[in-house]
Symmetry: D2
Subunit: 354 residues, 4 copies
């Protein structure tokens, strides 16, 4: 009910801050009988973790998950799955300077406003480190939905956009470059750009696209919990996200109905897919696809004017080890959140018919 649970039946409750003992969560409602591939879970964590390539933060965090409960002989038992990732290699000293200062476009000040005080080390609860718990839960959700294929990838870094649709690229090549862009030429261009941005002590935003394939028709709970509304909330809950669109998206707003409508084939599939696999908030069996916009990371390695908690001017110098661009590491997070949404809606759909 407070803001740290996601999902209604397949539900993740998350805890942890950047510099406490550890982060983790409880997955309540994961069905019994799923034989878990533990390596697949760790693999998704590795795709998110710092230090994995030259274009991400060079912090070293092993991010190994430990399970407390809910799994017996490698199989889910239907009772809550508790898990934790212990924090290691935290350099809390790096954050002494922001104890009383508010970093621009960070959540420091609003946490003070809301809660009265905050754990300032590493951003505390507002740190993107929290998303590792999402990746664990999402990796389990993926295994529950073993027939469904979730593929996220980077489609833009700054002004550099991949101008191909997901059908025009090979989605199996995403992990072949550190940017996680399936267009090799653009990937190279993006990689170079990120390195240059880092050299300048700056950061840059980007877009992640995601395709969900082999989704059965019928998922989504109108009128408020439409499939795309749940996906949108899931994506917007990820740190640094500024926008979400699915199917024809913002471009669709320019279109006419006579062009935009997806006409049916006799088998119930549609000839086009402007609907993005969702009609009236319910999946129709076609591919679901959507875009997620990420702002540039707020922590820059440049000097910035800001204020402290007394409203005094202070000059702040970015410290620590940070990402110049967040989208390569956010790819597994987008997939995880998509999987959590689909897992939940799959369970909810089991109860609508007599």
């Amino acid at each position: 009910m407070s803001g740290n649970s996601f999902g209604k039946l397949f539900q993740l409750t998350s805890f942890g801050e950047s510099h406490g003992l550890g982060i983790g969560g409880v997955i309540d409602g994961c069905p019994s009988g799923i034989e878990l591939d533990m390596e697949a879970i760790q693999k998704d964590l590795n795709r998110r973790k710092p230090g994995q390539s030259a274009i991400v933060t060079q912090r070293k965090e092993p991010d190994e998950v430990e399970f407390f409960s809910g799994i017996f002989d490698g199989i889910t038992t239907g009772v809550p799955i508790g898990f934790a990732i212990f924090n290691t290699n935290q350099k809390s000293k790096d954050y002494d300077h922001i104890k009383d200062q508010y970093r621009p476009s960070h959540a420091d000040k609003v946490y003070d406003d809301k809660y009265g005080f905050r754990d300032y080390r590493g951003g505390g609860r507002s740190s993107a480190r929290e998303t590792a718990s999402r990746v664990v839960a999402g990796a389990i959700a993926k295994q529950f939905l073993s027939d469904v294929k979730f593929t996220a990838y980077v489609s833009a870094v700054g002004e550099i956009q991949m101008n191909k649709t997901y059908q025009e690229v090979d989605l199996d090549t995403i992990e072949q470059n550190p940017v996680r862009c399936p267009d090799p030429e653009k990937a190279l261009e993006m990689e170079k750009y990120i390195k240059q941005i880092r050299k300048e002590g700056d950061t840059v935003g980007g877009i992640i696209s995601c395709v969900i394939q082999n989704v059965p028709a019928g998922l989504g709970e109108p009128v408020f919990n439409k499939l795309h509304a749940e996906l949108g909330k899931a994506m917007l809950s990820i740190n640094a996200v500024k926008g979400f669109e699915y199917g024809s998206g913002f471009e669709g707003a320019k279109d006419r109905g006579s062009n935009h409508n997806d006409l049916y084939n006799n088998d119930g599939t549609t000839q086009t897919n402007q609907s993005g696999g969702i009609q009236g908030g319910i999946s129709n069996g076609m591919d679901i696809y959507f875009n997620v916009a990420f702002k540039p990371v707020a922590t820059i390695m440049q000097s910035q004017q800001t204020i402290n908690n007394k409203g005094e001017n202070v000059e702040m110098q970015g410290k620590g080890r940070h990402d110049p661009c967040v989208v390569p590491r956010a790819v597994p997070i987008v997939e995880a959140m998509a999987a959590l949404v689909l897992a939940d809606l799959t369970l909810l759909d089991r109860v609508v018919k007599k």
Copy 2:
């Protein structure tokens, strides 16, 4: 828990289909002691209702709300507010032809897929008529939040875009034209275009922008129920919506951190507002602003090829009285959903400190 409740503490549970006895809802959690302006509620309903101008559907529906409970001597009592809007002037005969047929880009087929059968008349539960209940609840939420100002307006119809920010126009002029666009020249252009579109038996999409002013700092419940995540879900739950962005939005994804960061003034306000009034999912006291993309209405007054529930090809001719462009009537719906989100988060924020 099923999909027809919105909000956690200030909660609307909605019911009703296009052609049943009526639509309505229950508002549970509306605080006691609010002196209700009943005319203000009806006024918002009138902004949404059919037949209000030459560019919307010409159906005549009075859309008068009746309250069953929760209001005594004109004041909310803190117990649930039940209300209904009786359906009148429904022409169910208009829909006999779609009993067994699936309209392209409508929810007809997916409702059959999900629930096994459906009330086909007027789209049943998937009809946008359902949003009238949202407007009632939103109008009450606005009165609860009497210090906050919610202003939605049309910023694009098809390719015609208003290229001014909300600060560059007079937001008080929105109701002065049937399009609800605060840029008078663009409004005229949009109005002409909608009329032409209708003449062609076609429809067109558009964008609604919304500004929320005078929001106190501290609203939003990280990590999953961030303010913008709740707003995004709220907007995406409205019929025909395809995308949501706030603050710098999709444009922000192209930017660099050094340019994108909002630097502080000494009083804690920010010099720029790329954050859109929200940092880390929590309001910071600056204006909240966002854009919502609507697809073109799927019902067109042209002949379309489609299939019936046996998978046979059928030709379908659009009938009935429909909107050529949905955005002018959706303006109060966007405001209503924004008000419901803020009312809920306002209550939730009351419980975070000892």
Copy 3:
């Protein structure tokens, strides 16, 4: 989330006060495809309604339910079922004297404490009239669970107790006497006693017992939402209820494990049923049975000393048409709440296995 919704998947949200326009509710999550027997719903309402016999209140309220939505051609469609029972025959004048006065052992004062003011007419929201909405929803839940048999009956009125177990009586005879006690001799004794109590201007408490038969094994959601915990909450939420026990109940607390344990038969049934059909919070397929204690109605037709909202002494004379004993009319309410619990847990149990 506020207190007027019951159930997680099969969910009733209730509204209405004793003397407003009407009471009603929304059932969200009722599965599609249930062919409703409308007469059965009305029959349960009639078992609850005032004026049905000489031993209950002589108010005349037709209590006819109108459905707004969610039912098409007599079948549930899976979308929310909105319904209302219009208030008629309300004599608000009867309550002018309690506008500023607090009836002893009623909720008048605590509603003022909690909400700041109240609709005092007929007890407003705290009136047991609200339970009619529960009966409507429960009657639909019963039809969803057509294989399960819910039977409540009066087992005690004041000191007069039926000393037979449910196996020793004919449960089909319950409706043959106005008390709804399946022991004909005790029923007669109880009836006489209630008439005498009324003559004295007094009221008396009682106990309702309930048996649920043919429940499949596996219902209940440990560790917090155990089947008997949900039943207990459901029963305790009914006006005037003071206690709940199931299976061996309070007597079981006196017993030894060697005597109390239910030994298994080879088919998995148990030789005894001290467990009351529930082990570890999950149904085991045996009969579920429980007792619910009701206090005497607080409104008596005698003069009582009390206070007004200024803390001044006032003398109050009971007025209006009230029940001398609430249990005969509460029998269908107990069944309805039991059915709502089982319907919800039946749906929840659909999602626990892969």
Copy 4:
């Protein structure tokens, strides 16, 4: 939404089985700014833990809690509090014999029925070990509600009942004997009886009474989430509980209104307190008191006939280290659940008025 979360705003989500890596939970919604007394938390855990006296199970479990998050410099930060108690000293071998066998009146068989298979070691999730997490969360809830006094005590063991009301004993003496009964003579009698029962390899039930003092008026959320309904659910969710009654309880069902009604004093207190501090589901400021019935522990040190998962007869001998009577150790659990209910309702009450 699954069964392992308790509370709406002050919410505990619990995980863990008897013989896994550990048990624990997440408290989401605990207000910020509470200076925690860590020793008080551990003290309540010690009151619950095995091996604390001669009349409880002699298992040795240190039950030390570790906090992962949500506490900074000893003060709650308003973000989720994750915690774990690592399992130690588990003798899983003791349970090999029940891998395929169903212990009478235990949850073994119903877990197999519901989930398809189970972690059989030590009862798995159905073990009362899970309640340690409740005690941790409850101890924090008590500190949030520092003005409220929660006192549970043993009022009956088997047939031996303490015949004094809570006003007639010194509630501060409860911890002075291992039974936790504030009537010293009865305590001695109970202690002897429990030792005798153990010698016989048997177990016995009992009753815990609880008083909550200094509760402000106004807590409770009618109509479904009445204060006593939430308390009842909370208590019934504890392992082995068979019944709940508050105020006059089952005795009240025998009474007449003219005797049962609580008349007011001029200050709004009542002369009697049959209401048990609750009217219409809302606290009235008087003491809240209730009784909770516990069945005898199902594991006895005697030979019992039972069946295995093939339905074959098997003879089973109780093994391991078990409690002859559960009520002495359940006292802090009852207090903890009461504190969780009150903490949640305290937060919910903050949002009912404008």
